[in-house]
Amino acid sequence: MIKAHHISYRHKEFHILDGIDISVGYGEFLAIVGPNGAGKSSLLSVLANEVKQGKQNIVFKDKPITNWEVRELSQHKAKFSQHNSNDITLDVKDVVMMGRYPYFDAQPRKEDLEAMNNMMYETDVFHLKDREYNTLSGGEKQRVHLSRVMAQLQNDIAHKLLFLDEPLNNLDVKHQYKALEIIKKFTQKANSAIVVLHDLNLAAQFADKILLMKSGKVAAHGTPQEVFTADTISKAYNFPCTICDHPITNNPMIIFG
């Protein structure tokens, strides 16, 4: 799906990303984890073709990502950003409808309205559709953007790719699970998702693969069982931890302290 070779990114003299190789297959849910300042968001940004500086070697669906036409690319991949604008004086439904912009010219078609409504239901913001975006709480705004990003990828194209940068910020427990279930459902249809997460236990429960980063480098990459070992995690985070089996799901469960 997406392959990147030797990604480097520096800001002034400081290496934010240092020679990272990454490859994500069809239907894979990859969680990027790591301590603050490890370069998680930067990596996501570079992969999503947001960083124009320098030549990055990224191949999306067997074609260099820079060779894709902008509008066509937007039907294959979408990105949920960490810092969403606070000042959008539009109704919630208009914000979600933005996700359908790649599909129509002046007038939304029936399938655009359907996609908008469906995603608003799934992310539990349908009852807010006529509210002004600016009046929502932080968590509600996050859900609106999740709804927009998911609506963007409602189409018949096979193998789509979703980038999410800390989608769980400000969400309550129920909506954290709901959001992850939506993403999981998406990847189960042979689509892929690359998600920056902070909660290691949620990552262990939902992700197929984990990429652990530290200081702009890959510290570990593999299945949750492979990456989440007490030794690796306490080294990466500089904090002691214990790992046991989750009593229900049998995934690794990380207990800090």
Partner: protein
């Protein structure tokens, strides 16, 4: 689909309103058609009645009608340029006047008027003819690029920087224009004063044709960008993820708004704040949804300027109030109202 028919509904209503105001404006004025109404005379002009006195015909066609058409064209372009600039800078305070675009255009137009005589003969004939217009466009473009460079980095606009660089450009323009007034001869002085106050009195059909050409070209490119301007509210990176070619969009807005503002300044001088008032009113009704406010500004700008112009030439009849005074009188308080609303976020 419902939203689209809602847009057409409002477009129709405002178009009807514009026609009514145009009719009222045509019949308003000092000139007396010997007891007949202006419509009667217009009917006769259209019918090709030879019994019509030349002065009647002149007043209807070349004074009132051409002036009304010019108000419609210029009002529309000023409003659309204001709305697009606000979309580009993601802020309702961005207008040609606030960010120094108008001053840039006025400054270079003034230079062309006063110093043009010295180098005019070295230029090709086409350029000679439209020297003032081209200079105004270049002035607007230079000011625009300067403000954009100063105030925007990494796709984020610093509103304070935007407004302050506008202030700086305006004051540079002001001082150089003042110097030009000081050194200019009598007839040039008259031209310069006209620029600074703004007036539609010099309307002719030739000018209207040029304005129409500029308007059509600009609108074909700009008016369908409502969606793109909405997406820009998410930030430039996220707009690009929605399939918007952000770099191209920004270049289009910079060049086209400079072209529109430059042309308007070249033909009617500085008529301030139309690009602020119209989107402000439309935002009260449609929030910031550019798929509504961009197409609607095309007609609402005309409505505003036509009303203002009709007042300006009838309120102190037989004399005439410079129209820039009227629009700034409405625009100033609205500017403050927007400032107050943004007090916290600035």
């Amino acid at each position: 689909m419902r939203t689209q028919s809602k847009l057409y509904f409002y477009l129709t209503i405002s178009a009807v309103l514009l026609v009514i105001i145009a009719v009222w404006s045509l019949n308003t004025g000092v000139y007396d058609f010997g007891g007949r109404s202006a419509f009667e005379v217009l009917g006769k002009v259209i019918a090709g009645d030879t019994g019509l006195s030349l002065s009647d015909k002149y007043v209807i066609c070349d004074v009132r009608a051409s002036r009304i058409v010019m108000a419609i064209l210029i009002g529309s372009m000023l409003a659309v340029s204001g709305t697009s600039l606000q979309g580009l800078f993601k802020n309702p305070l961005a207008t040609g006047e606030a960010i120094g675009l108008t001053s840039g255009a006025t400054l270079l137009a003034a230079i062309a008027i006063v110093l043009g005589g010295h180098f005019k003969q070295y230029l090709p004939e086409m350029v000679q003819f439209s020297l003032v217009g081209i200079s105004a466009f270049l002035g607007a473009l230079l000011a625009m690029m300067l403000v954009y460079r100063i105030s925007t980095s990494g796709g984020k606009t610093n509103v304070v920087m935007m407004l302050l660089s506008g202030v700086a450009i305006t004051s540079i323009g002001f001082s150089i224009t003042g110097f030009l007034i000081y050194i200019s001869k009598d007839d040039q002085l008259r031209d310069l004063t006209f620029w600074n106050m703004g007036s539609l009195a010099a309307a002719t059909w030739t000018k209207n044709i040029i304005l129409t050409v500029v308007l059509v070209i600009s609108y074909i490119i700009l008016v369908p960008q409502g969606k793109a301007l909405n997406a820009m509210m998410l930030g430039e990176k996220d707009a690009e993820h929605l399939g918007i070619n952000v770099e191209r969009l920004k270049k289009q807005i910079v060049i086209i708004t400079s072209l529109m503002v430059g042309t308007c300044v070249a033909f009617s001088g500085t008529i301030g704040f139309v690009g602020l008032i119209v989107p402000y009113i439309l935002r009260l009704l449609f929030k910031s949804n550019y798929t509504f406010i961009l197409p609607l500004s095309t007609i609402c700008g005309s409505i505003l300027l036509l009303i203002a112009d009709t007042f300006s030439r009838s309120i102190v009849a037989p004399s005439e109030l410079p129209i820039g005074i009227l629009t700034s009188l409405i625009g100033g308080p609205i500017f403050i109202a927007i400032l107050l609303k943004f007090k916290k976020s600035l």
